[in-house]
């Protein structure tokens, strides 16, 4: 009997370890020979822990599993109260275009043989037969843009590093996924770590780099464990070695280290203070050497681009947003999780059709898109298509493609205040607009809450200063959630005034 139960953090947080133990105990008690594979998550967080059992060669899903549901897996499966049917036939799975996440949830994350059998390493093999310039051209042609949030064309970054002079070059993977509502990096690392390793090895070939680092946040213990084991396996199997090797490094709870220059300082063993640019990390990065700093999803999208060709990847998407994007749907949501699709769905389709609205069954009041530095979108803007330029045109950003749903009980003034408070807690302290502006921002919003409407022009002016004067996106983008709340939800700011009167 073949059974899968995710080792993904979603599953573990919902009791997955206990369910896995119960499956093995039940198998032993019944004398049934069970092969239990700890896979990644399929992305349907509301069904975790999601067990899968093979029936006539087809994987059937059961979830969300409790320990009490385990015995039923050994009886008539069709009558199991948590039976979902064939997993690939579920609407959530059928609606997706899984390119980067093709293997996540499908394979044993730590089996290089299964990885290979599902098309893994084909991209790296092809890259080995290409020149550096050809690999860079292929990635440029695919239209892949940085999935960490900035959306900078990956191929252009690689070209700069590839052509830069340096006795050593580095590939640094930014896995400091600190934005609330984002977990794509985590799921990829937990569910298909070899894809990231392969992507980094290809980047190494393209840029002439021999060493790679993955900087993973300390809040991701499962991802750290899986990545470390995967690197050892890849080394033992010759995927990594003298030509390109890599190391897993762990962050220390500083949100700002998701900013690339701050991350490099942290990696060097310094305070995670943001560096002024120029020089670009591509020319003077880790230890002053030419360095590619790419997000997990950017690097993990490279193997499929190399194996299937730039044209295949580029064919998905809209406008200048090419390929697919793993949407991460979170917060007060009925069907939350990871949904990989081509760019171009409208926000409304994502929120209403895919996510099913709020779990409270109350109206969706706002959706924060792009994490703590992203704007709050009201229903009036739900026709915005999901793309970099399309969201920028509405004074928002897609960031790392996280979406947080709020129902009508949310107080947007409090959310604006939280954005400023978070910035104050996490500011690295190097530039004044961010370091001081965030604290003044909290105080100014508190004045508004007390009904002092004269604070509004000050808040607007402060946001403008932070936006234009901050060194990095932390101070520079905190005005997005704040001003979008002010602009789209004026009642929440006016209500505070009435209350005071």
């Amino acid at each position: 009997m073949r059974v899968w139960l995710p080792l993904d953090s979603f599953a573990l947080a919902m009791g997955g370890e206990e369910v896995a133990a119960a499956i093995m105990a039940e198998a032993k008690a019944r004398g049934v020979d069970v092969t239990l594979t700890r896979n990644g998550s399929r992305g349907m967080a509301w069904l975790e822990p999601l067990a899968e059992v093979e029936v006539d060669g087809v994987r059937h899903g059961f979830g969300p599993m409790k320990v009490a549901d385990v015995a039923g897996l050994f009886g008539d499966l069709a009558k199991h109260p948590k039976a979902l049917g064939p997993i690939e036939e579920l609407d959530w799975m059928k609606g997706q275009t899984r390119l980067t996440f093709a293997r996540v949830g499908v394979i044993d994350p730590l089996s290089l043989a299964e990885y290979r059998a599902q098309g893994g390493l084909a991209g790296l093999e092809r890259a080995k037969g290409m020149t550096k310039a050809q690999i860079v051209a292929e990635v440029t042609e695919s239209g892949l843009r940085g999935r960490g949030g900035a959306g900078f064309p990956t191929g252009i970054k690689w070209k700069t590093v590839s052509e830069a002079a340096g006795d050593r070059k580095y590939i640094v993977c930014n896995a400091d996924e600190g934005d609330s509502a984002t977990f794509a990096d985590r799921m990829l690392m937990e569910g298909d770590p070899f894809t990231l390793i392969e992507g980094m090895a290809i980047a190494g070939l393209a840029c002439g780099a021999t060493k790679g680092f993955v900087y993973i946040r300390s809040e991701y213990p499962v991802a750290i464990r899986v990545m470390r084991e995967a690197v050892e396996i890849a080394r033992a199997e010759g995927v990594l070695g003298a030509a390109f090797d890599m190391e897993i490094r762990v962050g220390a709870g500083a949100y700002v280290c998701g900013e690339e220059t701050s991350l490099l300082n942290s990696l060097e063993g310094k305070r995670g203070i943001v560096r002024a640019k120029p020089p670009l990390p591509a020319l003077e990065g880790f230890m002053g050497k030419p360095t590619v700093v790419n997000n997990v999803i950017s690097l993990a999208s490279v193997p499929v681009i190399l194996s299937k060709g730039a044209a295949f990847y580029k064919d998905f998407g809209l406008g200048r947003s090419r390929g697919t994007i793993p949407l991460q749907i979170a917060g007060n949501v009925k069907y939350g999780g990871l949904y990989e699709t081509a760019f171009g769905l409208t926000l409304g389709e994502i929120v209403d059709r895919i996510a099913g609205g709020c779990f409270t069954d109350r109206p969706v009041k706002a959706v924060q898109v792009g994490g703590p530095l992203g704007a709050y979108f009201p229903r009036a803007l739900f026709d915005t298509p999901f793309g970099y330029e399309e969201f920028a045109a509405k004074d928002g950003l897609i960031g790392h493609a996280g979406l947080t749903l709020f129902d009508d009980s949310a107080d947007m003034l409090q959310m604006a205040r939280f954005a400023m408070e978070f910035c104050a807690i996490e500011s690295c302290g190097k530039c004044t607009p961010c370091r001081l502006g965030s604290t003044r921002g909290v105080e100014t919003i508190d004045r508004l809450a007390r009904g002092d409407a004269s604070a509004m022009p000050i808040l607007t002016d402060l946001c403008n200063t932070m936006k234009l004067g901050s060194l990095c996106a932390l101070g520079g983008f905190t005005p997005y959630p704040v001003m979008s709340a002010v602009t789209h939800f004026p009642d929440d700011f006016a209500r505070a005034k009435e209350a005071a009167e």
Partner: protein
């Protein structure tokens, strides 16, 4: 508490084990904290000497990162997520109940030394919030009631 010789010998071993790394300070601090539960003051000059940087630099790094402790935590550490997605799922009411039950605020330890309460900004469990981490174990979909139960279990 370890005697100071044993402590400095162990720190020396950790420094030695990390000597080949590029940019070794964070891995060293993580290893020291894993060993002692915090980064003892006495480690600072030892690290500074080994890496040929100033004591001020070492202190600066320790104090910059939320993870590093300068004194021991309680026997158990409860980290509750305060980020937006968990707030949207009513994480604030979970946090309020936890504080009330423990009788402490963020960053404090109960007088009996049992539990330290810390905020965390995202555990990547945003589709099954409110989320927490208890002594390294992840927990999702908390309610004010379930967080009370969690605290009772931890204190046992």
């Amino acid at each position: 508490m370890l005697d100071s010789h044993v402590q400095s010998d162990r720190i020396a071993e950790i420094l030695e084990a990390h000597s080949g790394l590029e940019g070794p300070l964070l891995p060293i601090l993580h290893a020291i904290q894993a060993e002692f539960g915090f980064v003892p003051d006495s480690a600072i000059p030892q690290i500074a000497a080994a890496l040929t940087i100033s004591k001020a630099e070492v202190h600066g790094v320790i104090s910059f990162y939320h993870d590093f402790r300068e004194k021991p935590a309680g026997r158990h550490v409860l980290k509750l997520c305060r980020a937006e997605a968990c707030q949207a799922a009513f994480g604030n009411s979970v946090a309020d109940r936890a504080k009330e039950k423990l009788g402490i605020d963020w960053h404090e330890t109960t007088p009996d030394g049992a539990v330290t309460l810390e905020p965390v900004f995202c555990l990547g469990l945003c589709a099954c919030g409110p989320a927490a981490m208890v002594d390294g174990k992840l927990v999702g979909m908390l309610t004010p009631k379930s967080v009370e139960k969690l605290i009772d279990e931890v204190k046992k």
